[in-house]
Structures are given as structure tokens and as C-alpha cells.
Symmetry: C2
Subunit: 380 residues, 2 copies
């Protein structure tokens, strides 16, 4: 392999695939990034067995020469050093040549690097995915759906299925659900291009979805999603992102969402968030995060928390709309803040079925999201 | 104590004094900030016994009412919670009232806080400092002198005196020295207002100087420095910053700086820094940070590092001026990068007295700084 490549484009692709490098891997070849060059361009691949990312740099783009290929070939280079050194090379052009024993020469300006390469034959082959079930979704919508659910996954590795986000697609309705048994987030979106594709019980690691989100550019990009037997492939521009589907059956969460409410409040999202944030500051010191919400006789509500050592915070809050019974309920304020952080609507509706029943939060201008928080059972 | 105070001004003063709060203190009263109110204004004090910071908020400034005092008094409030909650209060005005048993009520908008206060009588009294030895220095100069020396202090607590920066003042020459026995930084400045003040062997903790730097504003402020027996007091606008002088005698470093050189190089600071940074990336993986500098026959120099596992980086670098003998020397590239980061001059001079003798770095347009790095003794 012998090429000249533009540093900026090489660096961008390296940054993408590097997200699949795990610092904890025990398999030496997976500490590397695989480079494959043919006359069409250069392909970079990295994998931690759970996810694999592949980026393609075309030889030419819009009549701009990006990779000049003198001799095709391939090599695996140590990721950590490769990622950092390429970024810092002095010239806009980088020369690479693989010699005997995968010894790789990298030249840029007056910098000369000899890198110990590894045998590309040892690198795992990416799964061959049948493209039967393909949907297309705007990148920013996908990022949003991830952001609005992934915070509710479980961080407890003893129930691995709950560390993922559940995906269901039927009747063009694409639905994400995440829960850690104490709270739940659910977000649905209608797809234009689902073409009758349907699937259920597809569970994808929340950590993986966060990494995926980082790769999706801010601008208008479409992401193609290919769902196969035990793998999902995301196609984002010139990047392919493979992830395995988590094993197991996701619990049925439909029954825990109440359908009748005894108390409903409509509130300003920002004001509620600020109030709970102040109460949280105190409750955090008690390590419990418990905050109490109580309806008052004058139609307002009171948010409060207390700590025997530090004192008490009491917030009085106006309510835009109040229907139903008086109420006094305690909950984990951190969970509530996590929800309020991702609600984009100016107003929201909170629904209660009593002090021991789940709290439901719904953004006012968006019927596609629903959040649930279980209350604390307190005696006072 | 009963007052109304503007949130912005209160918050700013809290942020200043909070820098003296140590999260590791075992003395309960020192987890608090002391508030003292009289009709002139409000004084906030925090201390971790090593440093104490006091900030004054005047009742009125430029005809703007800042503190409205209804009843003078004082209290100590739990710092961590107080610092965070004040910042997040909903209204621009904050009402505070200390009740029986130092119970403190804080009101802002529709937020009500009850804080468990502590007895201000328990708070340590700040040292009474005689203002015999006072110098005045521009804030940005002081910040610069700290930045250009403090990185060379020792992080090893077994020789506490070396965790400080040595200050000497004589003939209006104010001199900072820091060393960890492997490297040394020295910075001198001529003071206009020293008024014949002189002192020597004043050693101030590097950590303290970093905290001090954060309090000095970017704009043109003068800092008054009062040097007393075992304390130094910095006066910055309305903030008083007390620190104790480290016990012990600072080692005499004058003899380790060579005065005759066998090889001298003049180099571009940025180019040298970039080259060493690339070589460092590799040497870091070997945990040694060893980089080699070698003069070449064509009058250039070569910077290189190698790792048995990863490979080799070789950099060739132009030299603006080269006098003396050929040379091959190894050093800790991290130490060199630390120096190059604080050198503001475009060009610098590096002086050598052989492969086993200290390396001296001097910025070209600044005779007031000198950096020293001991070389590695390597066999190759």
C-alpha cells in the first residue's frame, strides 16, 4: 500500500471510526484501525465486537483529488497513537507506505513516522447484512429520539436488556422505549419512508446510541437503518455503523402506564425546572434527591425539600391549569430534572393517579412523548 | 441581621471567597462562609486555615444601592449549598434574615429557604497584618509571573517547601523561582513602586497562587501585596486574600544554572513545540516521555522518540542560529512542552553544556525568564 491523502479528510474519517475503539479490549488486533486501499479510495474500520464503524474516503470527490493511490493494500495501525498523531501532522498532505512486515512509513512535511503495523488478515470481518428491512429517517429526528429516551436506561449491568432502548415499528410508527424500572421514557415518530417495514423487540444498547448520535452531523442528513437478524446497520453518508441487537425479551411496559388520572396540572416547563433544580440542590445533600410536590388551596403548587443538616427549600409555583383532586407526592428530583431537560415544549402536563401511582409527564405541543416516574413512598 | 442585597453582587463575592473552602476540612465551621453586616455593607469570609479570603460588598456603589441594611448582624452559612442556591435564585433581589439559633431565612421571588446557620463567634479571626512591607504590582503581570513559574513546582508533599514558589525582592527586582529538582523556572520583573522594600525566602504554595490568579480580573487592576512575618496579604479591589508563608528554607538554586555553554541554538518556538508534541505522543506510550534532540551535519536538528511497540517519530527542524559543538541529548518532553507553553516570545534560545548538563531555555525577546531542564542519562 502506498498513497498520498489529504490530512483533513483522513482525520475526519479516523475520528468517526475511533468511536468504536474500546480502551478495555483484550484482543490486540482490536486496538487498531484497519486501512484498506483500492483505486476507488480508502476504507477505515474499527470494532470492539459490539459495534463496528467503517468510513470510506473516495479517491476523488467533486473533482477534488483526496486519495492518490500508487499501490493498493491494507494494514492495521495502533489506534490511539494513529488518531492523535495524524491530527497533529504539520502538512495538509500525508504520505503513507506499508513495507515488509506491515512496517508503515508516514510522512508529512519534515515529520517522519515509522509505525508498527499489524496483519489486516487478523482483523474480524464485518457481518454481511441482508438489506431486506430498510428504513430511512432524518438524522436530527433520530438524534432527538435517542436524546429523549436514552437517559432512562438502566446503568445496572445485571439486567442487560434494560441498558438498551427498545425499538418497535408498525404502521409507520417508530417507537423508542427506555426504562430502568423506576422511570420510563417513550417517544414515537411517524416515518414517511417505512414502506410497510415492521419490527418489534429490537433492543439497542443506550451507550451505542449515544456514540451513534455523535457521528450524525447537525446538518440535514438522512440515516438509513437496516434491521437484520441480530444486527442493525446505520448508514450515515460515507459511514457505516454496525451494532448487535441485545439478547433477551424487553419487559412489557404498556401496563404500568395509567390511563385514568385523578389530578392533572399544566405548568411552565422552565419555571418548574428551575424550582425543582433549587429543591434538588438541597435534597442532593441528603443523597436521596427526594422532593415533594403539593397542591395548595389557592390553586398553586408547592415544591419543597428538606435536610436536617442544611435546612429547607420551599417554592411556590403558578399553575396554568389544575383539574382534579388535591395531591401530595414525593419523587426523585434528579429523575424529574432529566425529563425536564429534554422536553422542548414551553408547557407540559403532569398527571397523577394518587401518591403511590406513577407520575406521567407529557409535553403540551407534542403527543409523541411520554415520561413516567415512580413516586417515593414516604410517610410524611 | 436582616438585609436585602442584589443577587449579582452577592453571587460574585460568594464565588470569590468560596475558593478558600476546602472539601476535605474536618473543622465544621470551616465548611461555612461567614457573613457580617453593618451599615457600611456586607463582609464575606471563608478560610481553610492555609488561605483565607474576604470580600466586601459596599451598601452603596456609585449611588447604586447594593445592600439595604435593616438590622446588622452576622452568621456562618453552609458554603456548598449557599454557593449554589444563591446563583440559582429566581429574582434579582435577595432578602436575608437571621433568626433565633442562627436559623437563616432567604427569600427571592417565590422561593423560600430556611438555612441552618452556625455561630459566627466560632469562626477563626483573620490575622492582623502589619502593613510595613507593601508593594504594588499590575494584576496581569502578577498572573503572568505565576503562570510562567508555577508549573515547575514539586507535586511531592514529602518536600513541602518545593510545592511553593520562592519570592525574592531586592533593588526593585521581584523574582519568582520554582523547582521540583528535575526542572526550574525563574521569572524576574522590575517593580516601579517597590519603595525600597526588600525581602527574601518568601515561599508561597503554588496551589494558592493558582487560586489567587483566578481572582485577579483580566482588566487593569493593581494588586497590593503586604508581606508580614508568616503571612502574605493580597489586596485585589474589594477582595483580601491571606495566605501563610511556607515554613523552611528554599534550596539555593543559583549554582545549578550553568554560565558557560558549549552549544547554543535559536529556534522558532511554535515549530519546536509542534515537533516535540508529536515526539511526545509516542514517548508518552512508553511512560518515559523521553525525546532525543540531535544536531545534524547540515546545520538542522533532529527531534526523535521511539517505542518498541509502536514505532518511531523523527522530526527535522530548521535552526535560526547554531553556535558551538554538535550535540545529542535526551530529556523529558513533557517538561519541555510545559516550558514552551508559557514562552510568549516567537523565538527562543536553548543552551547546552553537554549531554549530562542542564538544558537552559530563554525566550529571545525577554531577558527576564529562564527555564532549566535536567537531561536524561541514556546510553544510546
Amino acid at each position: 500500500m502506498k498513497i498520498r491523502v489529504l490530512k483533513h479528510e483522513l482525520n475526519e474519517s479516523i475520528q468517526h471510526v475511533a468511536k468504536a475503539i474500546s480502551s478495555r479490549t483484550t484482543i490486540p488486533i482490536l486496538t487498531g484501525i484497519k486501512l484498506e486501499v483500492n483505486f476507488q479510495g480508502m476504507t477505515l474500520t474499527a470494532s470492539d465486537t459490539d459495534i463496528s464503524i467503517q468510513a470510506f474516503i473516495p479517491a476523488e470527490d467533486n473533482e477534488k483529488k483526496i486519495v492518490q493511490v500508487e499501490r493498493p493494500g491494507s494494514v492495521v495501525l495502533p489506534a490511539k497513537f494513529f488518531v492523535e498523531i495524524i491530527k497533529k501532522l504539520p502538512s495538509q498532505e500525508v504520505e503513507m507506505e506499508v513495507k515488509e512486515g506491515f512496517q508503515t512509513m508516514i510522512r508529512s512535511g519534515s515529520t517522519d513516522i515509522q509505525m508498527v503495523g499489524m496483519d489486516p488478515e487478523e482483523f474480524p470481518v464485518l457481518p454481511n447484512i441482508e438489506e431486506n428491512q430498510v428504513i430511512s429517517i432524518p438524522g436530527d429526528l433520530l438524534k432527538n429520539m435517542v436524546k429523549q429516551t436514552v437517559f432512562s436506561i438502566s446503568s445496572n449491568e445485571t439486567s442487560p436488556i434494560l441498558t438498551g432502548v427498545l425499538w418497535n415499528l408498525s404502521d409507520d410508527q417508530f417507537k423508542f422505549v427506555a426504562t430502568d424500572r423506576h422511570r420510563l421514557a417513550c417517544r414515537t415518530a411517524k416515518l414517511d419512508d417505512a414502506d410497510g417495514v415492521r419490527f418489534s423487540n429490537i433492543v439497542i444498547s443506550g451507550k451505542t446510541l449515544n456514540e451513534l448520535s455523535k457521528i450524525i452531523p447537525e446538518q440535514n442528513t438522512r440515516v438509513d437503518i437496516v434491521v437484520a437478524d441480530n444486527q442493525v446497520l446505520f448508514k450515515i453518508d460515507r459511514v457505516l455503523f454496525y451494532t448487535r441487537i441485545l439478547d433477551g425479551t424487553y419487559p412489557d411496559t404498556s401496563k404500568i402506564i395509567p390511563t385514568n388520572y385523578k389530578t392533572e396540572l399544566v405548568l411552565d416547563t422552565k419555571k418548574l425546572s428551575d424550582s425543582i433544580d433549587r429543591a434538588y440542590l438541597l435534597s442532593r445533600e441528603e443523597k436521596t434527591n427526594i422532593v415533594r410536590l403539593q397542591t395548595l388551596e389557592d390553586g398553586t403548587i408547592e415544591i419543597s425539600s428538606s435536610s436536617s443538616e442544611l435546612g429547607k427549600v420551599t417554592e411556590q409555583l403558578e399553575v396554568s391549569q389544575f383539574t382534579g383532586d388535591a395531591l401530595r407526592i414525593s419523587f426523585n428530583s434528579k429523575y424529574m430534572l432529566d425529563v425536564l431537560k429534554v422536553v422542548e415544549s414551553e408547557q407540559l402536563r403532569i398527571c397523577f393517579t394518587g401518591a403511590m401511582s406513577p407520575i406521567i409527564i407529557k409535553p403540551m405541543d407534542d403527543s409523541q412523548s411520554l415520561y413516567l416516574i415512580l413516586p417515593y413512598r414516604t410517610t410524611n
